[in-house]
């Protein structure tokens, strides 16, 4: 799906989003107060690919995701989303940029006081110019895309964990984002539900051309969906591998990556 850049002000010539790097991270250091979690993170995500951020528990995967979606401030120039530096962008530009992304949170984060249909409709009501009947049709489409046609009147508490995640995906898809971020999509799901969510991720990437960034440590899911994967090494406090998961498994650049991708729990000699 092609889109035009959501530029802050009119420019002489339109710049297609395809010409911009969807996610660009340059020498990012992540810290909690004075504690450095990860440093020297530099990578780009290609348009239309499924990119996985992997690493052990506590390696800073979710923190990195928060930097990418603007929930945590990064140093100026460290994180660019569709060419926009979130740290230095003015508030309006930042809002426009964030509008072009969708996020699926680990627990779904559906608004519990709203039905599934209302959850999906809310971003459209607030951020689009569609009228109510058009919004209802888009909501039906999004819920149908994630296999929840007919569940619009349900409240989040009344459905299963897998359905909640899919409903959350429908909400994330509401505004046809260019980039979708997933935080541990398979956590808390049974294998069938997790596999179904993987299918959805692949279908969205292939059919809608959406760039997808996934934080995960689920190896089955990583090998199934990832075009490329980034490994955050908790011991070295930086990224130590970037490439296709199978290539990393077959020719691991270091022992930590090998142990992670082969589930090797033996201690380092």
């Amino acid at each position: 799906m092609a889109h035009l850049i959501d530029a802050p002000r009119p420019v002489a010539a339109p710049v297609a989003l395809d010409a911009l790097c969807p996610v660009e991270v340059t020498d990012l250091t992540m810290r909690y107060d004075s504690l450095v979690v990860m440093e020297r993170l530099t990578f780009t995500v290609n348009r239309g690919e499924v990119f996985v951020i992997m690493g052990g528990s506590g390696s800073g995967k979710s923190t990195l995701l928060k930097h990418l979606v603007g929930l945590r401030d990064a140093p100026p120039g460290a994180v660019r989303i569709n060419g926009v530096d979130l740290a230095s962008a003015d508030p309006a530009e930042r809002r426009r940029s964030l509008r072009r992304i969708g996020v699926l949170y680990q627990g779904g984060a559906l608004w519990s006081g709203l039905t599934l249909a209302e959850n999906v409709a809310l971003p459209l009501e607030e951020l689009s110019t569609l009228d109510a009947p058009a919004i209802a049709e888009v909501v039906d489409l999004k819920l149908a895309l994630v296999g929840l046609a007919g569940f619009g009147d349900f409240y989040p508490a009344a459905i299963s964990g897998g359905m909640r995640k899919r409903a959350s995906l429908a909400r994330a898809l509401a505004l046809d984002p260019d980039i979708l971020f997933f935080d541990e999509p398979s956590s808390g799901l049974d294998p069938i539900s997790a596999s179904r969510l993987d299918d959805l991720i692949l279908a969205i990437a292939a059919s809608m051309g959406t760039t997808i960034v996934v934080v995960s440590h689920d190896l089955a899911s990583i090998f199934r969906i990832a075009d490329r994967a980034l490994f955050l090494d908790i011991a070295q406090r930086t990224m130590t591998a970037l490439g296709a998961p199978t290539a990393l498994r077959d020719a691991p650049p270091n022992d930590e990556v090998r142990r992670f991708l082969t589930r090797d729990s033996t201690s380092i000699p």
Partner: protein
């Protein structure tokens, strides 16, 4: 202010060309389809074209296929530029239109990416459960309300029994006191609560004194304003206002704290280990308030009386000495003790209401808020009820 994107957008809006080809209505989609509310809608477009007929007939004239009644819709790709959900919505409108008119819908000529998404959207969910529960009749709703009230009352009485059993276990050494939790409650309801208690107590003393000065001056009895302030603060307002503040502050806090623990399954962890949550969570909280509320009330009494004395001496002819002397004549130790007794009862009520609703919290995020609200409402209601009962008993026993 125009959307900056519109200034960059090429003038190539979403469009649909309709033509008849044999028994097929061929819809060719072109242009840029965006979720901005400008995309065409299938039914009005086709209805208008079919009723006009001219465009369709003109298009159809170029074909040699025999004309008959329409029995299918064919979607084709024209000069299709960018597209998003608006195109999918349009195609689904076409599918629905075809279904209504019993026409076949053929989308195979569209790009694979589009047909994949249409196929994905047409997958039947694994199961659809009836979501809408029938609304019961008025009489049934009254009955259900009564049953719910009875269930709540029974649950509250059961909880009182569980707390009493917990205290029995505590005093007979069959369970250990969680002193850390107890001291947290003590700290929270001592130095943590002093600012708000000070403020409210001073203001209550001031209000009572103002009322007394205004009313008693008319009868030349300003001297007796100390009676009002002393009697009012010690017997009634000190305990009542402190209780209400603590119900809103600490009772709601207990409910939210325990409610969050319920949602994160911490309470289940106690239960599966065979540990009574009451012993670990409720006893230290209730005991902490038992101890601290009387002390807070004594403090509030003193602060309120000082506030009242300040107003009485500054806005009437009463001197501080006259005020204190008058108060000493008017009130006795039993008045102060009555206030402290009330405070002890209020402490238990607040702890009970907060913990009761906290432990009964539901599983969704808004449940914590509802529990906190219910705890405050129940706490304040029971405090006022208890105050009335104690006053009635005190009057009966001439205290």
């Amino acid at each position: 202010m125009p959307d900056p994107r519109s200034l960059m957008r090429p003038p190539n809006p979403a469009s649909v060309e309709l033509r008849l080809q044999g028994d097929a209505l061929v819809a060719t989609v072109s242009g840029r389809w965006e979720l901005d509310g400008t995309a065409p809608r299938f039914a009005p477009l086709v209805d208008a074209a079919l009723s006009a007929g001219e465009a369709l007939n003109a298009a159809d004239a170029s074909t040699d296929a025999p004309r008959g009644p329409i029995s299918r819709i064919e979607f084709n790709e024209g000069a299709l530029d960018a597209w998003d959900s608006s195109l999918l919505v349009f195609l689904r409108q076409g599918q629905a239109y075809g279904e209504t008119h019993h026409w076949d819908v053929d989308t195979t000529a569209l790009p694979e990416r589009i047909t994949t998404l249409l196929a994905l959207a047409s997958v039947v969910p694994e199961r659809i459960v009836e979501s809408a529960t029938p609304v019961p009749a008025f009489i049934a709703r009254i009955g259900q309300g009564g049953i719910a009230a009875w269930d709540s009352t029974r649950a509250a009485l059961t909880f009182v029994g569980e707390v009493a059993q917990g205290f029995a276990r505590l005093f007979t050494g069959r369970t250990r006191m969680q002193w850390r939790a107890f001291w947290v409650v003590v700290q929270s309801n001592s130095s943590g609560a002093l600012p708000i208690v000070t403020l409210i107590a001073i203001l209550v003393g001031v209000i009572i004194a103002f009322l007394g000065v205004v009313v008693l001056e008319r009868f030349g009895a300003s001297y007796y304003v100390s009676y009002l302030v002393g009697y009012g603060m010690l017997r009634e307002m000190g305990a009542l206002m402190t209780g209400i503040i603590m119900a809103g502050r600490t009772g709601a806090g207990f409910a939210a704290e325990l409610g969050s623990m319920k949602i994160t399954e911490e309470l289940d962890a106690y239960a599966t280990l065979g540990i009574a949550p009451v012993d670990h969570l409720v006893l230290p909280r209730v005991l902490g308030l038992f101890v601290m509320l009387p002390l807070l009330v004594v403090y509030a009494d003193v602060v309120g009386i000082v506030g009242g004395m300040f107003v009485a001496t500054s806005s009437s002819a009463v001197t501080p000495t006259q005020f204190l002397t008058g108060m000493r004549d008017a009130v006795s130790l039993s008045d102060a003790v009555l206030g402290v007794v009330k405070a002890t009862l209020f402490g238990g009520i607040i702890g009970f209401a907060g913990c009761f609703h906290g432990l009964r919290t539901g599983t969704d995020a808004s449940a914590v808020g509802r529990s906190a609200t219910s705890a405050v409402v129940l706490g304040i209601t029971l405090i006022i009820l208890c105050n009335a009962v104690v006053d009635w008993l005190a009057a009966s026993w001439h205290i």
